[in-house]
């Protein structure tokens, strides 16, 4: 019944890996602006101690720079910050990408204004099917990338074993999924590396794959504990209110007592796990085999 077939991915193992950095807090652009050009160490330094959980090929050097949030409608960058980032990318000779979240209807006007600032060929990471449709219709010169909120997979760091992880396999190789991405003009998919994952989990996905490292996201809500910090009690923990972006100032780090699970954190409305070294090695193996053509470094 699901008979659509696609050609296998051409071996991209001979091409240099693409390397991106994804920045959420537009205020941190100022620190990047001090660099005349960006190196892999500049990117890795942004990760602090978490850089030890990234394994990059020797020839990996920056090719992309992203700005924006996948997880929150309140963190869409200002047009001024977008202009600045686009100009910096021209100086650095990097491709710019705007990262966008699941949208409420109120976000589409600001999104239109933001997208209008992008040069032709810039990337837009979309995490909402409606945003993908909107980009295709109104901004056909931009290149949409399916973000990791659209590439569904089980990522529960508490799972007792790999057997549990197999309960809900991903559908990234399904013919209709590819057809839908094609229909929306999406030519690339960005994914996480899940707990109990293996390098070959990316094999056979017949379009280019980028992996976020060294943090995967576990779950994200629209309700935000941190975003309620400045609200009066009756308005807390509900959608549709304003936000002072407190998540850019604080995060939470911890674990379940008595476990040796992946380090976990919560920032704003999203929970993350940090990769273990074995996971970094698996991503590197996937790169070596040509199953992954881009690594996007980002914090939690």
């Amino acid at each position: 019944m699901t008979s659509t077939q696609h050609a296998p991915t051409p071996d991209s193992g001979t091409r240099p890996i693409e390397l991106g950095f994804a920045l959420v807090d537009e205020r941190e652009l100022a620190a990047f602006a001090r660099h005349e050009r960006l190196t892999r160490d500049d990117y890795l330094d942004q990760l602090g101690e978490a850089r030890d959980y990234v394994a990059l090929p020797d020839d990996a050097e920056p090719t992309h720079f992203f700005l924006g949030s996948e997880f929150c409608e309140h963190l869409l960058p200002s047009v001024e910050a977008i202009d600045r980032a686009v100009a910096l990318c021209e100086r650095w000779d990097l491709t710019f990408g705007l990262v966008t979240p699941i949208a409420c209807d109120g976000l589409f006007d600001p999104l239109r204004a933001a997208l209008a600032r992008l040069p032709a060929g810039a990337e837009v990471t979309v995490n909402d099917w409606g945003v993908a449709r909107f980009v295709q219709r109104e901004f056909p010169d931009l290149r949409p990338v399916a973000g990791r909120l659209l590439g569904k997979m089980l990522k529960d760091p508490r799972l007792p074993s790999a057997t549990w992880a197999r309960m809900y396999p991903n559908g990234l190789r399904a013919g209709p999924f590819r057809d839908i991405l094609d229909g929306l003009g999406i030519g690339r998919l960005e994914l996480d590396f899940p707990p109990f994952g293996a390098a070959d989990m990316y094999a056979g996905i017949d379009f280019p794959v980028g992996v976020r490292a060294p943090y995967g996201y576990i779950a994200k809500g629209r309700i935000c504990k941190m975003g309620s910090l400045s609200l009066d009690t009756p308005e807390k923990f509900s959608p549709g209110h304003k936000c002072r972006r407190e998540c850019l100032g604080f995060n939470e780090i911890g674990a379940r007592p008595g476990t040796h699970e992946l380090p976990t954190s919560q920032r704003g409305n999203t929970m993350y796990y940090r990769h273990a070294k074995g996971m970094a090695a698996a991503v590197a193996e996937a790169v070596k085999n040509g199953w992954v053509s881009r690594i996007v470094l980002s914090g939690a």
């Binding site: 099917w129 089980l154 013919g175 209709p176 809500g221 308005e235 939470e252 379940r256």
Partner: protein, 352 residues
Amino acid sequence: MKITAPISTPAEVEPLVRAGARELYCGVVPPDWIQRFNTSGVNRRVFGNLNGYADLERVVDKATALDADVFLVLNAQQYGEQHLDALTEIGARFRSIGGKAAIVADISLIASLAANVPDLDIHVSSVATCRNVESARFFAALGANRIILPRDVTVAEIGAITQALPDLDIEAFVLNDGCVFEEGTCHTVHLPMNKGGPICIDNYQFEYRATERATGGGKPHERALRRLEQNDLDYKRWLWYRFGNGFSVAPNGYPWGPCGICAMPAMHAAGVHSVKIAGREGASERKIKSVELVARVLERIAAGEPEHAVREFAVGLRDAPSHCAGGYMCYYPEVRSRQALGDAEAKLPTAA
């Protein structure tokens, strides 16, 4: 506006329809599915499913005799490509016995059902996180007849979608079972309670850290920490409401927990087609009382009572308006009627 209610056994059909539900949804785990795929993951819930096709036929027969529709839940967040044909066959079989619609989140399965079982309606599950007009248009173009909106939307956002897409049925949550994260972006399983349960109430011990930019890293300043800890206490209380007021019921038997019954007049005015009661895994009595609660409000709306009067009636139905006053029990807290609540506003109860 119709009431959409969950069932997990054929015996629940008649009492739920008699109580006021016109639409029923259920899941099924066919025995051959487990043999074939070595998992019971046919839908989002491992528990609360019908035992097999024989029960599914009984449900459809009983509901049809009572003039109610039955929807089949096939709403795992994602399926492997190896599952799609089997799921499409389940959809076709369900349609052949008189089932009305499949509730689906995975876009590949939506496309497959639309192509191969065209007379089976497709309801886009709340798990698909469709909550804007453009996204609703996307799913409609794939073949969807109905969008079930996720939990955390405002009535204004619902109204924008119903107005923009009047030919698309919109279903919105009205009662029970609140997720903390968005269902479509929570990539966890509800573990058994002895292994941690749902991740949102698991025993994580977090410490606050300030970001490098805020204070150079490390622990937040004491004043900030005090505010964060007070916010944590508020959040803990909200969680208590989110999980059914500590999984309890009101003295008159009506369920506590996330609720939007006082918003029903506004939802009706916005053109919502159906209101959804969550909780397939719940006890039969809880489901019946849930439908009764919602039906009592719906009767007032159908009788043409003014919106404020219906809201007041809804707030009074559990004989404990203080729980409504804080807004933490609300799916749509912006609709709370402060006037109707009166003095109760100042008397917020404390979480256990």
